[in-house]
Point group: C2
Chain length 410, copies 2
């Protein structure tokens, strides 16, 4: 009798995480190795709660729900923010999960997510190894933050980058209209890594030099140099646009954001407001008209502007996760290895998931200019392929048609 599979999603939403799910589903459906594919609702907690959807049935429908799924933003299966205890601290947690796996005749478990999800994946794989359980445990990467190591980039990043670059271009058109000096500060997601903020630079073209200045959290933010940068640029152009990461911080490590940094369950500082702080600074010190814009959660859920390249890769990374487990591999995360920028070529391989969790990949310092206020051409070459291509989504009554998610609204 063939084994079944479980797939779950965790962490924050992206425009590509349902494409990864679609890839896992199609991988299982097209595989000779597995029978049914169940989706655990709300991440690993869906396993505890025995809250499953039988995704095998999606394939039996008349229309193509897998394609429809892959262009729907956020998470079809829902997410959780659950920090797995260590095996030492709570062996009963693992015993319970693997008892459920056993009951459901599970041969492979796929966890789609970012850093914290790979922590869960690594722990489950470790437990299986220690207990001699043959179940295969695989991670499938996704995070708009692009901060996973051992992969060229992560699904979700390209779509977020495309949304950010498009928004920056449209903001540029918006800023051009007045004939008086004006500074527009755009705050972009990125607590510890500047990958998303750098994507703002993709909006530059032969008539649009904005954003003229880009500040990433990888290098210390210097308030006085920032003010000098603004003064220099405003002399060159009437209107300037500045892209900043939410996580920019001073040399002493304190965040530019004025909000008190509180901790979430994973120990990350929660931030907002660096744009507002710099808006006030420019207003007070330079007496120039200034405004700030926070792109906020639309960066990660704007399915209508997803990158075709990003979604296609997400599907493949899901499909390959299935084929690798079918070949007997476990304890890995599927990863991309880039072979060429132009033309864009990559391989899909496996990375040891225990080496990925709880680390973060930041922007190489060599990709940030020595002045700490811009990025290099090499970084542009890295990002450009990831935003290529558009998705074709249906509209009904003026709005995008996404896959329905009534099971998340109980």
């Amino acid at each position: 009798m063939k084994k079944n599979c479980i797939v779950a999603q965790s962490g924050g939403p992206t425009a590509a995480i349902n494409a990864s799910l679609a890839g896992v589903i199609s991988g299982v459906l097209n595989s000779d190795s597995y029978d049914r594919i169940y989706g655990a609702v709300h991440g690993i907690q869906g396993v505890f709660n025995r809250n499953f959807l039988d995704l095998t049935e999606l394939a039996g429908l008349a229309y193509s729900p897998i394609d429809h799924l892959s262009t729907t933003p956020a998470m079809y299966l829902g997410s959780c923010r659950y920090k797995m205890p260590s095996i030492q601290d709570s062996p009963e947690t693992y015993e319970e999960i693997f008892r459920i796996f056993e009951e459901m005749n599970i041969g492979a478990f796929f966890y789609i997510g970012g850093n914290d999800s790979m922590d869960t994946t690594a722990k489950l794989a470790e437990y299986a190894r220690k207990t001699g359980n043959s179940i295969k445990i695989a991670g499938v990467p996704k995070t708009i933050d692009n901060d996973l190591i051992h992969t060229d980039h992560t699904p979700g990043y390209g779509s977020a980058a495309k949304y950010i670059a498009t928004s920056m271009l449209e903001i540029a058109h918006d800023t051009y209209i007045y004939d008086i000096p004006c500074v527009t500060i755009v705050e972009i997601m990125g607590r510890d890594a500047g990958w998303l903020t750098a994507a703002a630079a993709l909006a530059r073209n032969n008539y649009n030099p904005t954003p003229q200045l880009i500040y990433l959290p990888e290098v210390p933010f210097d308030k006085e140099r920032f003010l000098q940068d603004v003064e220099t640029e405003i002399k060159k152009s009437k209107n300037i646009v500045i892209a900043i990461s939410e996580g920019i911080r001073y040399a002493d490590g304190t965040y530019v954001s004025s909000h008190a940094a509180t901790d979430d369950k994973f120990g990350h500082a929660q931030l907002s407001g660096a744009g507002k702080v710099l808006e006030a600074l420019v207003k007070d010190r330079l007496k120039i008209k200034v405004r700030s814009v926070e792109l906020n959660i639309l960066q990660r859920c704007a399915g209508h502007l997803a990158s075709r390249t990003d979604l296609d890769e997400a599907v493949k990374l899901g499909e390959f996760a299935v084929s690798f487990t079918a070949k007997g591999y476990t304890g890995f995360m599927t990863a991309t290895r880039r072979k060429s920028d132009i033309p864009y070529l990559y391989d899909i391989e496996m990375a040891d998931v225990s080496q990925i969790a709880n680390r973060a990949k930041t922007v190489p310092l060599s990709w940030i200019t020595p002045e700490h206020n811009n990025i290099t051409q090499e970084f542009m070459n890295y990002m450009r392929p990831l935003i290529q291509g558009e998705v074709s989504i249906s509209y009904r009554d003026g709005l995008p048609v996404y896959i329905e998610i009534p099971h998340l609204r109980k």
Copy 2:
């Protein structure tokens, strides 16, 4: 010898104002009545400064720049924030403008804009009438705010509404993912009128009841009733989304926004932050997870998500302005008069521009529910036709291709 025309744009940007411009250009080019069409750069100030582009030449290009123009957001000709003095206070201002019109053999002047621009249009028309000048002065409406009287709605509103509704739907997918109670407050533009905020309701569908609550500036905001509304809704759904106008205010007239209200040149209070204020209120009083999102300037400049219906109407309102002046009319603004919601039908007519300036059309109180926390089906029926249809824009290198605006970056 045929006369020439001047067209200019003013006020804030929209995704449709270049479609209005395209309509005026094509109206002139297809007219037997006029020769050349000049664009004044930066509104009426472009006339003073003799800063003109010869738009007649756009039509001579091999590709179709008029189509390309109409799908480009913000303002091809730039804007200004210039309050025309009264004729009594500064007759020399009017003498100077009409001297330039005379020099350039101008037969008609078209001003595309909102309330303040119609003030300028009305004053110019009044001066022409008083001095017996035969030049025709016409206003072409645009404003995302939809607050012009004597027209069913304004170009720019439909595209902004489509962006808002799409964003709300994507935010809904984003909010669904967690299994814990959460309140998301979305702050939408609208100082005195709730037209834009109401568009959030268009995101509702058979699986999405969000936004459950909508608060508009037309009715007093009651803090305690708001908290009761949130408590009631959070019991029904784990995740609730609330749409609020930036301009909501208490019964005594003070804004919910905590920012000091300062005045711009036209005497409007400048606002931001009502969402942040309510976020803090919910956190403090109800101890529920809460976040706020400000849609900000992308509401008015997201050309990639413009409404086809909106752009088509904007073109027609521009074309009709030309044909009405060619027939000898002056001192009007083109306007839409709706004949039917389903199927959607409207006429284009003229409204006396002197009756439009310095007034604002707010949402009828009968379109707001008695509880002051939602809108009626009649309001939905009004909005729905305006967001129908998508624009086809080209993408290059992953980004929308908009018309180039080097003349705004001198």
